[in-house]
């Protein structure tokens, strides 16, 4: 009964959606409202007003920095939620050892590769304003490096290298940095999170700081979530 109801609901929604989609403006038409209302200003002035050639980063870090702050808070919420439901992982409780020890070849290769991965992550994060990339992408690459490290060298080693007490400083970093910038701009006399009060060179510096902060926070938070999921404990 419930199954039938859901199925009917699904078909109804589907028909409705498909019919509406056909009513929508033709995709990619330069005369579409989405290309004419706000976009011209972003494209013509964006790079000058924010010092970011990458317009996606420009929007995320300047025009809509409040949203980015909210997004970082959301990631933080997930972490706090995971810790609230499960409690911080306890390193002493004898984490389950790897079933298959990876061969030395893999270990050595990874030791050689990992610095390059980290450099790549930093490059992606720092150059977010000038190339294809951004703080978040860099952060996720960083997270995957940490996860690879943990998978190959075992969790004890990984937790020893990045203990939770050290990780926690990075997990709130971006949000606190956003708040700091926001309060600073309030004191200088603008509205909240106004980076343009400070003049172009300082703005560049702050934007770089934001990229790095977002990268570190998102990367380390995602890695922490992985640790937590890997060791959902059995009390």
């Amino acid at each position: 009964m419930r199954k039938l109801g859901s199925f009917l609901f699904l078909t109804l929604i589907g028909l409705f959606l498909l019919l509406t989609v056909l009513e929508m403006p033709i995709m990619g038409d330069p005369a579409n409202p989405s290309n004419t209302v706000t976009t011209p200003r972003y494209i013509s002035e964006g790079a000058r007003e924010t010092n970011c050639k990458n317009l996606v980063s420009a929007i995320m870090l300047n025009y809509r920095s409040y949203d980015t702050m909210g997004e970082m808070v959301a990631i933080f919420t997930v972490l706090a939620a995971a810790l609230a439901i499960l409690g911080r992982e306890k390193a002493k409780r004898g984490l389950s050892p790897l079933k298959v020890e990876p061969s030395p070849l893999i270990k050595i290769t990874m030791v050689i590769y990992i610095p390059f991965f980290i450099v790549f992550a930093c490059y992606v994060a720092i150059n977010g304003c000038y190339s294809v990339g951004g703080g978040f992408q860099g952060g996720v690459i960083l997270a995957s490096v940490i996860i690879i490290f943990a998978l190959i060298f075992g969790f004890d080693e990984a937790v020893k290298k990045f203990p939770a007490s050290k990780r926690v400083f990075f997990e709130g970093l971006a949000v606190l940095y956003f708040m700091l910038l926001g309060l600073m701009s309030l004191f200088v006399g603008g509205n909240f999170l106004n980076l343009n009060l400070f003049g172009s060179p300082v703005r560049k510096l702050f934007t770089l700081g934001l990229e790095i902060g977002i990268g570190l926070t998102s990367g380390i938070t995602i890695a922490s979530l992985f640790y937590i999921l890997k060791k959902v404990e059995r009390e």
Binding site: V37, R64, F76, I85, L86, N191, L193, L195
Partner: protein, 492 residues
């Protein structure tokens, strides 16, 4: 005006910032968590009073985030209605923190307690951010924070039932937030902007509205899920019943009220033309059905907290009806109902929490005669029950009176009947509770102490306030009247 101008953003940002800060301070000293979060909520409450006074004196204002003008940046809208809801959220939130301390100490593990406070701060902060936001995507972001923190607060106890309720809530919540994103996409594709007031002016001057209506439908359905109106209510009883009592107070009192505020935002701020669409009738009918059904479910429930949760479905239906009536009386009744529900239902969950704290009883049968053992606590509990039932002289009566009157004015006799039937059924289940806790003989003679002072004060204050607003509804109308008039101006 200058400091009031910046206060709304501080109300949102302060709880979020403190929550993040606490997670770092937590490693140094665990004791700092509770006082700091209480202080933050107090700051927010005082700021909300100043915002309300400022709005009353100087009228509604907009705040350009990062000084970017609207179509490019994010805009915040602060008017009388938002000031009213802000005041409500911070007021109830402050008392939730006072109540939480003894309850959390007893019912939650020591490890989890600080995270409980952090998540509650995030929940309250994101609610205020959602309410004042004037940009759809910004609303989505705060909606996500709100839902993420509420799923985890439901599941925080960590036992099977709580986890299952949390997962169910998560699935519904994710669907609702994805609907917000989908509706946002539809609206953006034809208007080219995410700003609320710009979309409204576009909609007023446009002729082809098919796509916009679809977007509006998805946004409204999303907030209907969040507000747990009738066909989408299935997640609510479990989630609100299994959560810790103070969390249920926030979820039942505030979060579903904020869902109704979301519907108001869609209909009045974003798409002020949508009321002429046919599907609004559908929502009106469903909300009307919900009033009766929620009350019927509540009538046959044996677990006190689940009963209160079921009654929320019916009560929030009352609030939603007023929104879909598009008249002064209806909206005023709806606002009064949100106020009444926030105060009385939170107080009721506080009362249920106090019983659990002292005795561990959850079933109504176990609570026979408990009113004789904890008379003060249960006295306040009874006042709130009266307000939920809509006994004259309480806030609940005022709101239902307005709604009924609005429905009569518009000649919607089916709705009048449903409102009367729903009120009658809610009186019935309230009488059932009162009869059980006051007039039946207790099974055991075991002594039960009164609730501790930290629990008694929030319970007493909230229930007395619902009595106060019932005796002098004019007090509430100081903010509601100009706010509702502003909303109705938007519709033209």
């Amino acid at each position: 005006m200058s400091i009031v101008y910046h206060l709304p953003i501080l109300i949102t940002v302060a709880p979020l910032a403190v929550a993040v800060l606490l997670s770092i301070l937590l490693n140094l000293n665990r004791r700092v968590v509770y006082p700091l979060s209480l202080l933050t909520m107090f700051f927010c409450f005082v700021s909300a009073i100043f915002v309300a006074l400022g709005v009353l004196k100087g009228g509604a204002f907009v705040y350009y985030m990062s000084n970017w003008p609207p179509p490019w940046g994010i805009e915040l809208l602060i008017d009388n209605i938002t000031a009213f809801i802000l005041l409500l959220i911070t007021f109830v939130g402050f008392f939730v923190f006072i109540f939480s301390k003894p309850y959390v100490k007893k019912e939650l593990e020591k490890e989890k307690a600080p995270f409980y406070y952090i998540l509650t701060l995030l929940l309250l902060g994101s609610m205020t951010g959602f309410v004042i936001s004037g940009d759809i995507f910004n609303m989505f972001i705060f909606f996500e924070i709100l839902s993420l923190s509420s799923y985890s607060l439901v599941a925080i106890a960590g036992d099977k039932e709580a986890l299952r309720a949390g997962f169910k809530y998560l699935v519904m919540g994710v669907i609702s937030s994805l609907f917000v994103l989908l509706g946002l996409g539809f609206i953006y594709s034809v208007t080219g902007t995410l700003n609320v007031s710009q979309i409204a002016s576009w909609v007023r001057s446009s002729s082809d509205l098919t796509v916009v209506y679809t977007g509006a439908l998805f946004l409204i359905v999303a907030f209907v899920i969040e507000a747990a109106l009738f066909p989408m209510h299935i997640w609510l009883p479990q989630a609100h019943g299994k959560a810790p009592a103070p969390v249920s107070a926030v979820l039942s009192g505030l979060v579903i009220g904020v869902g109704v505020v979301g519907i108001i935002k869609v209909i009045y701020y974003i798409l002020p033309i949508v009321y002429s669409a046919e599907f609004i009738i559908l929502f009106r009918v469903l909300a009307t059905i919900g009033i009766v059904f929620g009350a019927i479910f509540a009538l046959f429930e044996s677990d006190l907290k689940v009963l209160l949760a079921q009654s929320s479905i019916s009560q929030i239906g009352f609030a939603a009806i007023g929104v879909f009536l598009f008249s002064y009386l209806g909206l005023a009744g709806s606002m009064l109902q949100i106020l009444n529900h926030a105060l009385a239902k939170s107080a009721l969950f506080f009362g249920a929490g106090a019983i659990i704290y002292r005795t561990g009883f959850r079933k109504l049968d176990e609570m026979r005669g408990i009113g004789k053992k904890m008379p003060i606590t249960m006295g306040f509990f009874a006042i709130s029950l009266a307000s939920i039932a809509g006994i004259p002289m309480t806030c609940g009566f005022a709101s239902k009176y307005y709604l009924c009157f609005a429905a009569i004015r518009q000649g919607l006799w089916g709705m009048v009947g449903a409102i009367l039937l729903g009120s009658f059924l809610s009186i019935l289940y309230c009488i059932r509770i009162i009869n059980c806790i006051f007039f039946e003989e207790p099974e055991s003679e075991a002594e039960v102490l009164e609730a501790p002072l930290e629990m008694l004060i929030p319970l007493g204050v909230l229930s007395l306030f619902s009595l106060l607003f019932g005796l002098f509804p004019k007090m509430a109308f100081v903010l509601i009247e100009p706010g509702v008039k502003e909303l109705l101006v938007l519709l033209r």
